[in-house]
């Protein structure tokens, strides 16, 4: 298989990074001084039996080295401890949270990619004109806005038009599937829009840069000399080649999307992973914090790997 080397290398890297992340996670939470953070069994309102069970499960009375191994074992079983806040398994809390975050973030990211690419291409195409300057300035403007501030601005702007908090309307009693979806979509608009606007700024700049670089390549001149129409050249030759650096850079922005989702979900009280982090910090719910951090880190590693593989698919120059 072409490039088997490359695929294996990147996957191995991802796996190792996962381990680094897991170890970091353990180190941060279980090696911290004091037992407030490290003691997973300190679940408020828990029965003594539960506390004892947790102590045993995570070997809290054993050495740190043994605890690390047990930590990995429990992780493999999907056991991340019990949340201090709602006394539920962290893993099921996270599962729900993640399923709430994904659609919202996906919506925002896709809108940003589509519109960012469009404006980026236009800016590069109309190099040196007023359109380009306007586009770049706007993109820079959105890029510079702090995510949470932009979120608040949108709340102020759209007060009364779009709901400014939560994922569902608490007053809807037993809604039909369709009504429920509509309700969620309504609530999802502003948070997704916030994310989309900030990312749009960044992506426009990335795409414009990549396109300008590509448009200076020799094969573009060849395409022109062949008698191709400019639009065709942009589509078939320039964009196709620019996709390579664009994919890489968008992948690199994933870390930012994660940060952005934390801020957006906090402002809009969107019950997702980002908000889970915020709540956990507020409530000193360390098992949840540890779990949420792990999930966020793993998802970034995962999407980075996905981007690597996508790049591999797009660039025929990578061979074994």
């Amino acid at each position: 298989m072409r490039g088997a080397d490359y695929v294996i290398k990147r996957t191995a890297f991802a796996v190792i990074t996962v381990f680094v992340a897991l170890t970091l996670n353990f180190a941060l939470f279980r090696l911290a001084p004091g037992s407030a953070i490290t003691n997973l069994s300190r679940v408020p309102h828990a029965t003594p039996e539960t506390k004892l069970a947790l102590k045993k499960q995570f070997g809290l009375d054993k050495s740190k080295g043994e605890q690390y191994v047990i930590y990995l074992q429990q992780l493999a079983r999907g056991n991340l401890g019990i949340s201090f806040e709602n006394s539920q398994p962290v893993s099921s809390n996270l599962r729900v949270a993640l399923s709430n975050t994904l659609p919202m973030v996906a919506l925002g990211t896709i809108i940003a990619i589509v519109f960012g690419t469009l404006t980026g291409v236009i800016a590069a195409w109309r190099r040196g004109t007023g359109t380009e300057h306007l586009t770049v300035s706007t993109a820079l403007g959105f890029y510079a806005m702090p995510t949470h501030w932009l979120a608040l601005m949108l709340v102020i702007l759209f007060a009364g038009i779009f709901p400014s908090g939560g994922m569902t309307d608490d007053f809807l009693i037993d809604p039909s599937w369709f009504t429920h979806v509509k309700d969620v979509a309504y609530h999802m608009t502003l948070p997704a829009l916030t994310l989309a606007l900030v990312l749009f700024g960044e992506y426009t700049l990335i795409v414009r840069s990549a396109m300008l670089e590509t448009l200076g390549e020799d094969y573009i001149l060849t395409a022109r000399a062949k008698g191709l129409k400019p639009r065709t050249i942009v589509r078939k030759h320039a964009l196709r080649n620019a996709l390579l650096p664009i994919t890489t850079l968008i992948a690199l922005s994933l870390g930012y999307i994660v940060a952005g989702s934390i801020l957006v979900e906090t402002v809009f009280s969107w019950p997702g992973i980002g908000r889970a982090v915020y709540q956990a910090v507020l409530q000193r719910d360390y098992p949840m914090l540890q779990g949420a951090f792990l999930v966020l880190t793993l998802s970034v590693v995962f999407f980075n790997l996905l981007a690597d593989l996508l790049y591999f698919r797009l660039d025929p120059r990578i061979t074994s």
Binding site: T17, V20, A21, L24, L28, F29, A32, I37, A124, W125, R126, R127, G128, T129, L140, G141, A144, M145, P146, T147, H148, W149, L152, M153, I156, A159, S164, L212, E213, L215, G216, E217, D218, I220, L221, R224, P230, I233, A238, L254, G255, V258, A259, I262, L263, T266, V267, V277, Y278, V281, L282, L289, Q290, A292, F293, L296, T297, V300, V301, N304
Partner: protein, 318 residues
């Protein structure tokens, strides 16, 4: 060499900046975006520095009702404690800028050193350091910052260190690439063959060459550091005893500024942060462009070549 468009002589106006001396100043003077950016940033710094003397009111002085409306004496209104917003902004900018610069300093020192060692020494050192950098890069900054700040406790020093420790990777990579290319240059090899020690070479030859790029990177990092500080403050992890611009926003958010309709408690501090980030970005990008001018002109754009109409006909035409 690219096929044709070394449009001859075209480069004379855009010589890449190679020396430290006045490089930042040159860019700020030459590029309009950098000039504007520098002006904005400069104004903020001046205002922040002079805040204790120039601020119109006291920082903790209640001069009116909760969320007082903007008026002539208080152009940006009052916050939930009745404190003048303009005053808050000036003092807030101080802390935001301090954190931004200090964290960037930490990050540049770490990143610069790592990049320097990695690029200059090469070999095993390079591989190991780069591996570490890669892993650091793969872990999302803000969640890590949040976790560390949550565990370690919020204080200004902690925040600065946390942000600084997470931003160094970008600098490291950039510095490493530059150092590697400089190392291969003739005059460095010559210096070595003449017996110059490594430290001497680094100080006299390498550092001056990487300085302009480092400055560009620094400015861009400051932008990120400021953003990170506002994010942390917003999530309640800022230093509770200090007022930064991020804290001002957080206060407004926590204390129902929106439902009270007090947009002036939210919009100005965020706009201030946005302006700071924007100005740093403009300067940084202008410097980067100046250091790596796009030598190749685009072969394609919306406009096409122009025709000059002939005067007269045939071979005698001018």
């Amino acid at each position: 060499m690219s096929m044709v468009f070394q449009e001859p002589g075209l480069l004379s106006g855009t010589q890449p900046i190679r020396t430290l001396r006045g490089s930042l100043w040159k860019v700020i003077r030459g590029q309009p975006s950098a000039t504007i950016g520098a002006f904005i940033l400069g104004s903020f710094i001046v205002l922040a520095l002079l805040a204790p003397w120039v601020a119109p009111y006291g920082l903790h002085e209640q001069v009116g009702p909760v969320y007082g409306h903007p008026s002539w004496s208080h152009p940006l209104g009052l916050d939930d404690g009745g404190v003048d917003m303009v005053t808050l902004l000036m003092w807030g900018a101080r802390i935001s800028l301090v954190v931004g610069f200090a964290a960037t300093f930490v990050s540049i020192v770490i990143g610069g050193t790592v990049g320097l060692l990695s690029g200059y020494l090469g070999g095993k050192t390079d591989s190991v350091l780069m591996r570490i950098t890669d892993y650091f890069l793969a872990i999302p900054d803000v969640p890590l910052m949040i976790v560390v700040a949550a565990i370690w406790g919020p204080s200004l020093t902690h925040i600065i260190i946390v942000i600084g420790v997470l931003l160094w990777t970008g600098t490291a990579r950039v510095v490493r690439a530059q150092v590697k290319s400089i190392r291969e240059r003739v005059y460095v090899k010559r210096a070595r063959s003449l017996g110059a020690g490594n430290v001497r070479i680094v100080v006299r030859h390498v550092l001056p060459q990487i300085a302009p790029l480092l400055i560009a990177n620094t400015v861009l990092t400051i932008a990120v550091a400021i953003f990170d500080e506002t994010a942390l403050a917003f999530l309640g992890l800022g230093d509770p005893s200090r007022i930064s611009l991020g804290k001002v926003i957080e206060n407004a958010f926590q204390r129902t500024a929106i439902t009270s309709g007090a947009w002036w408690a939210i919009v100005p501090p965020g706009a201030a942060v946005a302006l700071l980030i924007l100005s740093c970005s403009m300067i940084g990008r202008a410097m980067e462009d100046a250091l790596n001018p796009r030598l190749k002109a685009a072969h394609l754009s919306a406009r096409s070549f122009r025709l000059r109409p002939l005067v007269g006909r045939g071979k005698d035409a001018v």
